[in-house]
Symmetry: C4
Subunit: 509 residues, 4 copies
């Protein structure tokens, strides 16, 4: 953005311009930080923690297992019948007195359960896969991994009600969900629970008796949303149990604590004011960048700082748009919900995008901070460091290619050899992360050894030797050597006029 | 302090002066170490360990949960009714024989329970927060996060006695406490337990039956102090359970093992003697520094060593003063306490400051050790190292600024993205510590991955790449390059007269 | 392989040849990767996980211990009578309804139990070791560590049936197994279980009543194989409990998830096509290499790249051969098995070699990736890096010898001092791995300290100081210094014609 | 030892001499390794593991606690009455049949319990410490930390029998034991158990009923020894429970698996042969070194290699002597023991020294391996490395002093601030080890944070910054710089005649 003005005049004017720009930028940065620090708070962490512990760590009465440790279909029923019911319905105080009617429907006596919880099941068709000829006589049923194309949409069991007949994604206004094994569609067989514990238990009993879950079941979703008025936060809970074609059960959970109603308290309105100022800033910067693009055309896009500017502006515009949309959408949902308290309210979509919105804002702030380096070239040291990085970037890039070919070759080797046994190598992505973690010293050697008594340790030692001992040190050698060069160069050349000098001179006067 | 004498004379005199100073300084250092090694002992660690295990790791009879794992209000009652009672009252021996009357009131049969334990509760007012208009019809009660301004001071429940009516901080002579979530005031509703188990259980039953804890409750404190005469140590115990507005319960505990009565055994009186000598030393050094300040004025404060001197002296003086005050205050408290054994004795304040006193002394010793480097410039190697540090300090500082901007940008990014899900990023401070720990290899990658399947690993890999691979290596490059320069310089210049030579010459004679 | 054509012509022709070669090689690499990515999948990991959790983590009803934590003979019976039976036989649904007859015999209702499970026991002879004279009167029985030469082959107990009389390795068509303590032969006393739970329990009861396991028992193997038609995978399970001569029990397990039937679904036939192309490639490369060997004779074997070529080709040929054999062998086994469902089917041998086959393919791919570096010398950076590695390889090798002598001396020291107490030093191999892991920061200091209060910490600190501080830094110094040299050299010499230039020129035209 | 011959002749002769010496040395080294590899074995590790799991991990029936988690006197009785009795007495098989009489007295049916187990208690006198005047009225009893001078030697309880009257260290032929808190004398009140479970339970019941343990009790030792004839190993077990004056119980255990009877099997006699050859070698080297000392006098002790030689020889002589003594002593003990099976046999002393003997041998081997470097100066690389180490040793030493002053200052600071709360800082030694471990990334940050919310993280970050970032990098700078210098020097100077050349020349001929 410094380029918008013609700075061919004397250096002093240039410095003054830069300074003014810098001050404006810092105001922008402060506004941005104020916005974000209202976005996340320790209370939100505690809310997530308290809610997730309630459902995930409560023990089943007989086996002392928990949701996290669930491994069979039987465990699913154990979970829904005790920890889930106890977690959802708080109908007595600790002295065994019943709560009053107005106190009913609050988890922990504090968090209003919005509408009712819902169970949703997805199934695949029988004979969705090919059985080998030799086994065809013995094995007459075959249920493949989940895929939308082979989803079972036929009624089953009691053949009536939404629990036993298929509901399409459109009917449910649902969205797809990326599980650990597959991505699941938004339709399915749904069973709505009730607002009282006894009624819900009745519903669950019927499902269990009539084998609601069977061999075709590939996933069950438990969805509900709570709202805490004390701290004005929603917690959108989704408990998923996947039943892979291998048998067994794989639990997964998401607790999204989001502030869907933004403007309630006084401090919220202060944030609103900041948001307006922020929008103005974005407008200002957008105009500036558009002018620059017009002037410099393609040359504009060759500078890294400009790309950064554009990224920040784009993200900001998207976020502002979403913010407006969210405010309207939540208002609509809430009025519907409060009118029909016995319906399941789907906050999944909204909470998902709210989380993405938060992430986008966070990334924008990060980029804005990085841009600070554009202005910091105050003194020789900074120049040295940035020149070093700039000069060795070509060498580092060449080295990085070499490094990553070896790294990926190791990752593929690890995935192929240990993938069926060790969690940390169970996907190609995991293998990459694991190799990164080994460099830092965070890994489980014994699992590797158990997976293959000879190749495990050999693989580990070869990797540590080549990557940790040799390649990483070469990284260092490149930086080290370049730094010496740069330092020697700078010592030889005359100092340019620097901003540091400007301040110093001002001070000396 | 070397500057107090005019060292314009010949070098030999200078060395002699330095040597004398050095010897005096080492005597001072030894005295200081003697003092501190009496301050902490392994017995104190075991005392803390034994007491904390007794209360924190004892299982509730039904759920097998412990104080550390407490998550609900119900758990609080489970804790106070069994593990707390069993821990406080040891009324039978292991062969089920009752203890004699004189043996009553000792935890582990060894640790005298001073006075009686006390429960204290803090509440917030109903409607202390704003409920959004849409919910106002449904949600009629609202209890905000704790803040002193919205503290509930009205009587409730049985409306009589200190447990149901508010006691101010002044009445209780209490002090505020920094919990995990908020900082709590020193007042509240207090319930004193009794000196016998049966009576205490009776008191607890009444509290439970009448719903002593309700939605407004934000924290409960359990306070008591024990004294072990065998080893002359107090253990001031405070168990805090915070009830955040999210619901749930967050336990916290502090076991302060302090030596409040200092002078009992023979070795204690030896320490007393050392303390007197130490006070004289401080007096001597204070005078010296004052003289120097008078002579050099502002120039005095430009030397790092002088700042260090002043710091050590100031800390020492504060500590000596506190030591005198503590001795008097404890004497007073004890006599009151032994006269009225049925009162709750508040050692909180005293033990808190005793711990700060210990820390202050520890820091003084640390600074005193660092000052040793002032005298160690014996030989070329040392000079090389210190020159290297001195010369690259400017570059390092410049680099450190750059490093910390990137570091803090990463910390903020992590806090904003993962803050609601991952404990290690739940506050901005935690995020900073976590990023430091990642460099050393101590972190939980899977939590990050669970929090966000894409951004988690990406964040991790970017951080490791830029900070661990690139920036840390640049650190090294700076030091490495400077060291080479310094070594070359020193090799070229003539050796100054050094202290090492002085010794050598003496030896050669 | 570049050498097969006479490249004495002009450089441009050379580059064209190289480029053609490169393209062919990349096609080969892609084919190879396609083959392997079909080989491992996340489903296989989940299959292993689900099956191993079912048997290894199920708790014994009384002691809440698991297979993994097994320590006594009594635990073995606890395991086989509850978790094993519950894991093998799924005869009711979660609503307590019995499964239909066609649903019988499926673990998790999904995984067909092939044939029947088998228990196999190995014993050693009484008086297989020498008792010291002093004890001969008191100690009349003596059972040594397992060795095939002292195996007990006499009938015992009820003296009839395969469970009480010895079956040779040839009779059982078995193979030896490398346990944690010893390698065990393929014969033994075998007890086949039944296809129904009740019958199997009867068999186990008889074994237990008649003391099937006694002091001579050295290992018990539980073998069975399941087949999942949904995903067309076999899981070959072997649970081993070793009873060392020390008393106690050491559990071990292997769950080999293998795809023994290769060509069933459409994607399988795509892989088959790739395999054929791959075979053609191998043929082509074989011929090429044979021609080269004939031309260059011994000189051929002096180039590293040629050795790599030969390795890849040899491994590939072995793998192709095994692939053909496996397809035939599995066909045979399955037809026998389906005819006689009450026999134990031994997939041990096949699954073992299938795993080795997978590993061999994985290594071939790894080597093929490494060969990519032969072609990558595009630009100056790459040349710098490879020259650095090449030039410092002699120094690094010299250093590595020095490093490993010290390293091994430390490993032996650790093994001798801590070997009897600490698992991580219990064998010489483990000691080596542990020392590697200490460098990365993954180790258990407290175990070392417990093993020997003085030598443990001393050993640790000496090791960290010499190996982590001094030797590793020397590693770096070598690479760093060589890199500076190489960079200086390259800067001085004229650039040779490089492939990068070729591309650039083409681009410039 | 090369110095024993006058090598002023031509270089070739020198090389020949060196070669001969080298060959002899390698024979010596091989003999030494053979000896030691017989000393430790994986079987010994499993023996330790199996025995320690039996006693330390067995759960108490009611609280599910274990020996390792013991915290109160009550836990001690829970332990001895169930896990200890079940571990010591195996009187039935797993089918509930009683074992035969000749099978009685074997742990795991395999390990002969030698003689009977023994409980030993140490007490301190009442009023062994000073109670502060203020408390004197209330606190009438006072039991200090254990010290031999204040040991209680008066009869108590039932006043008769060895359990209630004091037995001196001389009477028991005992030795002192270094516990976690104090070092305990060898005397005490002893209760011998019986050879049958029922009788032992009777004895324990009497002890419990009569309050054998009281406030004066400072430690209880449970001692017994088992012998496994299968593998000819003794396991000397000592379980210690310390009762500190703070209350509570601190468990500790030692399982010493030792081979006290050395020469039984054939391979043992092969080792015996090696031992004889070894003794001859030591004789030869001793004579050689004595001759050298006579010739060179004080100059001899200035060479590092000579010091190493002497160390190895001295350790070897001590070990040989102990080996002879042990063989005799064990023979004596065993004959006594087998005559009087109802006595407690004290293998404590013998097993302790056997472990020290093993450690001494291990250290001798380590030193012998290090001496290999004396002979390895084959080629330029090695010379470079050793010169680098030699040349920078002075700088490194200077740096190490600086490093360790800062390091120790940090350790003391950590000990004083966190010592009462955090186990890893509970002693000054632990603090040092912990700081070392932090460098490698193995530490518990959260404990530090809990101990002091401000100082904990500050301390951690300061330490990491100064020691990990700055000081460690300076280490590297020193080595790096010296290596460059050395390499430059060597490149300039002519090669001396080297051993590598000798071989090369021989090969060229
Ligand atoms: Ca690490």
């Amino acid at each position: 953005t410094r380029d918008t003005e013609d700075t061919k005049g004397d250096r002093e004017k240039h410095v003054k311009t830069t300074l003014r720009e810098l001050v404006v930028y810092f105001v922008f940065l402060i506004i941005l930080c104020v916005l974000t620090f209202g976005m996340t708070s320790t209370t939100m962490y505690y809310y997530t923690k308290v809610m997730s512990e309630l459902f995930l760590d409560a023990q089943f009465p007989d086996t002392k297992n928990t949701f996290r440790g669930m491994t069979t279909m039987m465990d699913f029923w154990r979970f829904v019948e005790t920890p889930l019911m106890d977690g959802l319905y708080w109908e007595t105080w600790y002295n065994d007195r019943n709560v009053t009617d107005s106190e009913l429907g609050y988890i922990f006596y504090e968090n209003k359960l919005l509408g009712i919880p819902r169970l949703r099941q997805l199934k695949v068709l029988n004979n969705s896969c090919v059985v080998h000829d030799d086994f065809k006589k013995d094995i007459t049923q075959c249920y493949d991994n989940y895929a939308e194309s082979i989803e079972d949409k036929n009624p089953f069991g009691k053949m009536n009600g939404s629990a036993w007949t298929y509901n399409t994604e459109a009917e449910l206004d649902g969205s797809s969900h990326a599980g650990l094994i597959e991505t699941y569609g938004g339709g399915g067989y749904i069973a709505n629970l009730a607002r009282k514990k006894a009624e819900s238990l009745e519903i669950l009993k019927e499902l269990r008796e009539n084998l609601w879950l069977d061999r075709g079941t590939r996933a069950v979703f438990i969805d509900f949303t709570v709202y805490n008025a004390n701290i004005n936060l929603f917690c959108v809970v989704r408990l998923v149990v996947e039943f892979p074609p291998t048998g067994g059960a794989i639990p997964q959970s998401s607790f999204r604590t989001v502030k869907l109603i933004r403007y309630v308290s006084v401090s919220d309105f202060f944030v609103l004011a900041c948001e307006c100022i922020f929008a103005l800033f974005i407008l200002y910067y957008s105009v500036e960048e558009i002018i620059e693009i017009k002037r410099h055309r393609l040359a504009y896009f060759k500078k890294v700082w400009n790309i950064l500017d554009i990224l920040v502006i784009l993200i900001s515009i998207v976020c502002i748009a979403f913010n407006v949309y969210r405010t309207i959408a939540v208002g609509d949902m809430l009025s519907t919900l409060l009118d029909t308290p016995d319906k399941f309210p789907d906050f999944e979509f909204l909470s998902y995008w709210q989380v993405q919105f938060n992430s986008a804002v966070a990334i924008a702030v990060f980029l804005a901070w990085i841009k600070v380096f554009k202005y910091i070239s105050f003194n020789k040291t900074m120049t040295q460091l940035s020149s070093t990085l700039a000069r060795c970037s070509k060498d580092l890039a060449g080295f990085a290619i070499m490094f990553f070919i070896i790294f990926l070759a190791f990752a593929q080797l690890g995935y192929l050899i240990f993938g069926t046994q060790v969690r940390d190598f169970s996907t190609f992505g995991n293998a990459i992360f694991t190799l990164f973690r080994i460099i830092l010293g965070d890994f489980n050697f014994h699992e590797l050894e158990n997976a293959h008594r000879v190749l495990g340790p050999t693989y580990f030692i070869l990797y540590v030797f080549f990557v940790f001992f040799v390649l990483l040190n070469m990284f260092l050698a490149i930086i080290n050597d370049t730094y010496s060069e740069v330092k020697a160069d700078i010592a030889n050349q005359k100092n340019e006029f620097e901003m540091g000098d400007y301040f110093k001179r001002g001070y000396d006067k």
